[in-house]
């Protein structure tokens, strides 16, 4: 991931220089509803009794969450914007994360006119509570942009979100947390949809 950001900037810089003048800096706020509908996990660990437990649970539980994100970015071309998003994102029951997401937004009819918006992005997420290991997320969606005034617009967005996580594993016998040395694999993934509104400046 550390290599990804310079790589993206390297790709974007030539397109920036192709434009006359400096690219416009954009700012924005986004908030919305998140419905998490699927959680999958892969756990492989040795329990206190000394035997190995391998689990791959799939849970189709529904949890309502929300998100509040701020962003800052650049208008790369007349139709493409790249922005860094951060804030607070609920991903599961009592599970909140701080994302650092790089997102591309493409407006076929132009960034500063009414019309379709397609977006996609990915980045890191940091859980707010243990286990606080840095994880990843991917995000794709579409929406409709309404231009209010020069440079001020509102987006109505619908998107799908994929977030990874690492959980505290409970020993089934002692009900205590399994120490990291006994864990071979510990992954969890959440899938959710987002309905959000954004204001861009």
């Amino acid at each position: 991931m550390k290599k990804l950001i310079p790589l993206v900037l390297l790709v974007l810089l030539p397109s920036m220089s192709m434009r006359a003048g400096m690219p416009r800096i954009s700012w924005g706020l986004e908030w919305g509803y998140t419905g998490t509908f699927l959680k999958t996990a892969q756990r492989n660990f040795i329990c206190s009794e000394g035997y190995r437990i391998v689990e791959n649970p799939v849970r189709w539980d529904y949890y309502s969450n929300g998100s509040v994100l701020a962003n800052a970015g650049l208008d790369i071309t007349q139709k493409l914007n790249c922005a860094l998003y951060s804030g607070l994102q609920g991903v599961y029951s009592k599970r909140w994360m701080v994302p650092m997401e790089l997102r591309l937004r493409w407006c076929p009819s132009g960034l500063y006119s009414d019309g379709l918006l397609i977006m996609g992005g990915g980045g890191l997420v940091l859980p707010t509570e243990p286990l606080r290991e840095v994880c990843y997320r991917a995000h794709v969606g579409a929406g409709y942009r309404v231009e209010l005034l020069n440079g001020i617009s509102i987006d109505f967005l619908a998107s799908w979100m994929f977030t990874t996580d690492k959980e505290m594993i409970l020993d089934p016998d002692t009900r205590e947390y399994v120490v990291p040395a006994m864990i071979s694999a510990n992954f969890a993934e959440y899938q959710a949809f987002n309905l959000s509104v954004a204001i861009n400046f």
Partner: protein, 191 residues
Amino acid sequence: MQSVLNKLLLIWLLAAFFIPAGAQEAGFFNSPKGFGAQYCFAENDGVFHTATAYLDIYGIPTSRCSSPGYRFNFSRQYVFHKMENAGVGYTFYAGPGVSTGVVRDHDKGRGFDLTSLISENPGFMFALSGNVGCRFDFGRKLSLDLSFLADAGIHVRVNEKEKSYTATSLSVYNNGFIQMFYPQLTILYKL
């Protein structure tokens, strides 16, 4: 999920019932308090009315409860200043109103216990409200409305300590004051 959908349906039915024939604007209500719909009656002699129905999300962002409350407000707004700058029209207003609904109130200092009784004490709320705000008109079909609202009222709910006896408890609706500085942003569509 089903209860959320039921409440959404109820709110939309409630909102539809209150749609006036001469509604000037209708929109999407956004706030840290919750999400819903707002109808704005046509302005007449510097006075207009707003009807807002929304899902109260108190306790949901912190995962303390999973189902929202629902809330309704009707306000009479007095326009006290209008101005225009750089193509944007600003309308400043303030006014009284009434709020009601079935919501959870702020639980009083139960500390960091995330499984506190908040999830068990939704109750009926009735309050007199005071509203102040500003409408931003960009000369387009969409306009924005930023407002703040305080509720002074009561909250009636099943007593947490004696719930098996279905005793009720009555208290001041604390969230009416605590949430008065929560911004309310409505994206309005001109009908």
